[in-house]
């Protein structure tokens, strides 16, 4: 649609924790066209002390492919200078990182909107499933989807572009 050169992006799906500072510096050090850095970090809440751990199951291969699809849509839709998305899987205790989105751009609106957009789609369209293990229960419980997350994702359809495909 546009003949602007689109920016590359980094997508990783991993069991290990990530380092927000190190990931940010990769996108900013020596990149003096960057005026705005938005980072979103999703953490495991302890649910008022009741949660033992979250267990994150994912579909290897499809997870990376889906996240990369949204990342591609984001760099096509917004004039970003850099984009990194990392999503963890496995058992995650309260207080630990789950997901990271870093978007950089010359001006702030692009970085805010792109990271907001990506989180909405990671919540509802990337093949990850959360199971809550509570301190007081022997069996884990699969986390239910929230209607608000679908509503959030739907916001990005109404305006500007048609290049987002939700099945």
């Amino acid at each position: 649609m546009s003949n602007r050169t689109t920016t590359g992006f980094t997508v990783r799906v991993q069991a290990e924790n990530f380092d927000v500072l190190a990931e940010t510096e990769i996108l900013t050090k020596g990149h003096k066209d960057v005026g705005a850095v938005v980072t979103f970090t999703g953490l495991c809440r302890d649910e008022g002390g009741t949660l033992e751990a979250l267990e994150l199951e994912h579909y290897p291969g499809m997870a990376e492919a889906q996240i990369s699809k949204f990342a591609r849509q984001a760099v096509e839709r917004w004039p970003l200078t850099g984009l990194t998305i990392i999503h963890r899987f496995g058992k995650i205790p309260p207080g630990d990182n789950i997901v990271l989105v870093i978007a950089t751009s010359s001006h702030r609106r692009a970085a805010f909107e792109a990271s907001d957009f990506l989180m909405d789609f990671l919540k509802t369209q990337a093949p990850f499933w959360k199971k809550e293990h509570l301190r007081e229960a022997s069996e884990g419980t699969w986390v239910k989807t929230r209607a608000i997350d679908d509503a959030d994702a739907a916001r990005w359809h109404d305006e500007k572009s048609n290049n987002i495909n939700i099945p």
């Binding site: 999703g42 994150l56 199951e57 994912h58 579909y59 291969g61 499809m62 997870a63 492919a65 999503h87 789950i98 997901v99 989180m119 990671l122 919540k123 509802t124 369209q125 990337a126 093949p127 990850f128 499933w129 959360k130 199971k131 699969w142 986390v143 239910k144 989807t145 997350d149 939700i166 099945p167």
Partner: protein, 83 residues
């Protein structure tokens, strides 16, 4: 054809994946769910509400009426809760 199950579909079927020979009568992803549900109690429980189940064919989201011919991998899973 390779079939994969995630989250509570994996737990209810008792397997994370299997390879099946697709019967002639099963054309769509929806028909495959019906056919699987008829296998035993665990599969019946897994597929008791097919409208809540998401389907991916060759790692792309598809609908129930998706035609399976030429498919290498079908996955069944609940609505996603990542992020």
């Amino acid at each position: 054809m390779r079939i994969r199950y995630f989250a509570w579909l994996r737990e209810r079927t008792g397997t994370s994946g299997e390879t099946i020979e697709l019967p002639e009568t099963v054309k769509t992803a929806g028909e495959l769910m019906c056919w699987l549900a008829a296998r035993d109690e665990g599969y019946a429980f897994a597929f008791e509400q097919p409208e809540t189940i998401r389907i991916a064919v060759n790692q792309e989201h598809v609908e129930e009426d998706h035609i399976l011919s030429g498919t290498e991998e079908v996955a069944f899973f609940p609505p996603m809760t990542g992020g």
